[in-house]
């Protein structure tokens, strides 16, 4: 009787991934992404509307990914966000282009994007959150200060 482990489970991606050309030029996949980035950046400048490219939905070989990182380069900002899961945001050498990775609580990567924006939405704070935290801060001030500061704080 064949054992369960004998049944091969292979789920290769159906589309064939072309290896990058030997002469160090950019693979077809990378060229496509870069040209889309150019149009997204153009749109960001013209209409202030941000965009993103979902890397996981594209067939990318490791070589393509390395080539893309080499072209985009490193920026000055690295940030990690620990909220529901962990997210790493790195600015690339191309300003306005950010490399964003999201991980769930088990450390599994759930999403990987190239974000085209002034700053990825996940980093900025929202106005309602600011208002709420401002209220909380004032409340703490009132609770912690002696009588006269309470009077000054009310102005």
């Amino acid at each position: 009787m064949s054992r369960l482990s004998d049944i091969p489970i292979r789920s290769e991606s159906r589309t064939r991934i072309e290896p990058p050309p030997a002469d160090g030029g950019l693979g077809g996949g990378v060229v496509a992404i870069l040209s889309e980035l150019v149009s997204l950046l153009g749109r960001l400048v013209d209409t202030e509307s941000p965009g993103a490219i979902d890397l996981r939905s594209l067939p990318m070989s490791a070589m393509d990914r390395a080539a893309l990182q080499k072209v985009l380069g490193e920026g000055e900002v690295q940030a990690t966000v620990t909220a529901q899961g962990l997210s790493r945001v790195r600015e690339t050498g191309v300003s306005g282009v950010w490399w964003v990775e999201h991980f769930d609580q088990q450390g599994e990567m759930v999403a990987e994007l190239i974000d085209v924006s002034r700053v990825p939405a996940i980093l900025t704070s929202a106005t309602d959150e600011i208002a709420a935290s401002a209220r909380d801060l004032r409340a703490q001030l009132i609770a912690a200060s002696p009588r006269e500061e309470k009077h000054a704080a009310r102005q």
């Binding site: 489970i9 941000p50 965009g51 993103a52 899961g85 997210s87 999201h102 999403a111 939405a121 996940i122």
Partner: protein, 366 residues
């Protein structure tokens, strides 16, 4: 947790549960990627949802096996499921809610009154109309009446599972309970059918999330199923398709072909005529799906799939024998009778012709 919804926005509710805006963006982006939606939708969805009033949801279970509900609550990534229920105020679900008896009925009436015209009605299970609906009743009221009542105030109805969408197994021949799909009873409300027996969890949550966040009914196919998930057939997205094209077919469930993961067309796979996302999103968090586990697709997201002949008869076999598969004997019976009838006509025609012909015997013409 007070079940009646208050005037909290989703954002405030999330903060209550220590889920920050950034955490919610992470969840929405991950869900958007899982649903193969455009990447920027994740962030946009998060923003819209946070401002949106917490949508109310009424979950009614009728003649069902709770398989769909298990599928949803057993869904692989608890974070998604808990977030869903924090995002959406589940105002009535007789399986989950603590209340019972009159309190439960009162809670339902209350939920309908409070959010009249705004809540999402989720139906699970087919609606029996036989014997005046007595086959499925709770609190003295039949499922049909409860559905009609609840449907009045619904913003939209999401039918989860082939039973509510197409009648499912209760409707299968001989349909003793006179089961009907929801579409046969409610005509005036937008209905989204999330068929499958059961549907894929991510498809249920994805559809709910998409409706709740956009407020609009997504693109639907002719069976009112979201095209995002039911647009393609399993066959078109199946990883074994190259074997189909190369003509490599498994002939039995344990032969060399099956072990090599060849196409299961000859073993009755209904992939070619079944629209669902099993081959892309897969089950159990993307681990596998029926074909990958070595069994042909049953076509569970298609109307009347129970009555489409044997699950193990090839997709292209004729459909008029017992158990949907004709046998040589039935073909012989049919064609034999027809040939006999034809022969009678033939003899008659020849007879008529010869009668009209000359009596000139011994004619030398051939």
């Amino acid at each position: 947790m007070p079940l009646a919804s208050e005037e909290l926005t989703v954002g405030e509710m999330l903060l209550r549960h220590g889920i920050s805006r950034r955490g919610f963006i992470q969840f929405c982006t991950a869900t958007a990627t899982a649903m193969a939606l455009p990447p920027w939708i994740g962030a946009a969805m998060a923003e819209q949802l946070r401002q949106a009033r917490r949508p109310s949801l009424v979950y009614l279970s009728f003649q069902e096996c709770t398989g769909c509900f298990e599928s949803l609550t057993r869904s692989f990534s608890p974070t998604i499921e808990s977030l869903i229920f924090n995002v959406i105020s589940l105002d009535y679900d007789d399986t989950l809610m603590a209340a019972a008896g009159d309190n439960a009925e009162a809670a339902l009436a209350q939920a309908i009154k409070d959010n009249f015209g705004k809540y999402v009605l989720v139906i699970d299970g087919s609606v029996p109309t036989g014997a005046g609906g007595a086959y499925c009743a709770s609190g003295g009221r039949s499922a049909v009446d409860t559905l009609r009542e609840a449907a009045k105030g619904a913003a939209a109805i999401v039918c989860v599972g082939t039973c509510s969408a197409f009648g499912g197994i209760p409707l299968a021949d001989p349909n003793p309970t006179g089961a009907w799909p929801v579409t046969a009873i409610v005509g005036d409300k937008p209905i989204i059918n999330v068929s499958g027996c059961p549907p894929i969890p991510e498809v249920i949550t994805g559809t709910l999330l998409q409706f709740v966040s956009t407020g609009k009914v997504p693109d639907l196919d002719e069976h009112l199923r979201p095209k995002a998930f039911f647009g393609n057939t399993i066959h078109d997205r199946c990883y074994r398709r190259p074997f189909y094209d190369e003509g490599k077919f498994a002939k039995s469930f344990d032969d060399e072909g099956a072990r090599n993961g060849w196409c299961l067309y000859e073993l009755g796979c209904k992939g070619p005529t079944t629209h669902n996302a099993c081959a892309t999103i897969k089950w159990n968090g993307g681990t596998s799906f029926p074909i990958e586990s070595g069994h042909g697709c049953l076509g569970c997201s298609e109307p009347g799939f129970w009555d489409k002949g044997s699950f193990y008869a090839a997709q292209s076999s004729a459909e008029w024998g017992k158990a949907g598969v004709p046998s040589p004997r039935r073909t012989l019976e049919l064609s034999g009778a027809a040939v006999a009838a034809g022969a009678v006509l033939g003899v008659a025609s020849a007879g008529i012709s010869r009668l009209r012909q000359h009596r000139s015997e011994g004619s030398s013409d051939p």
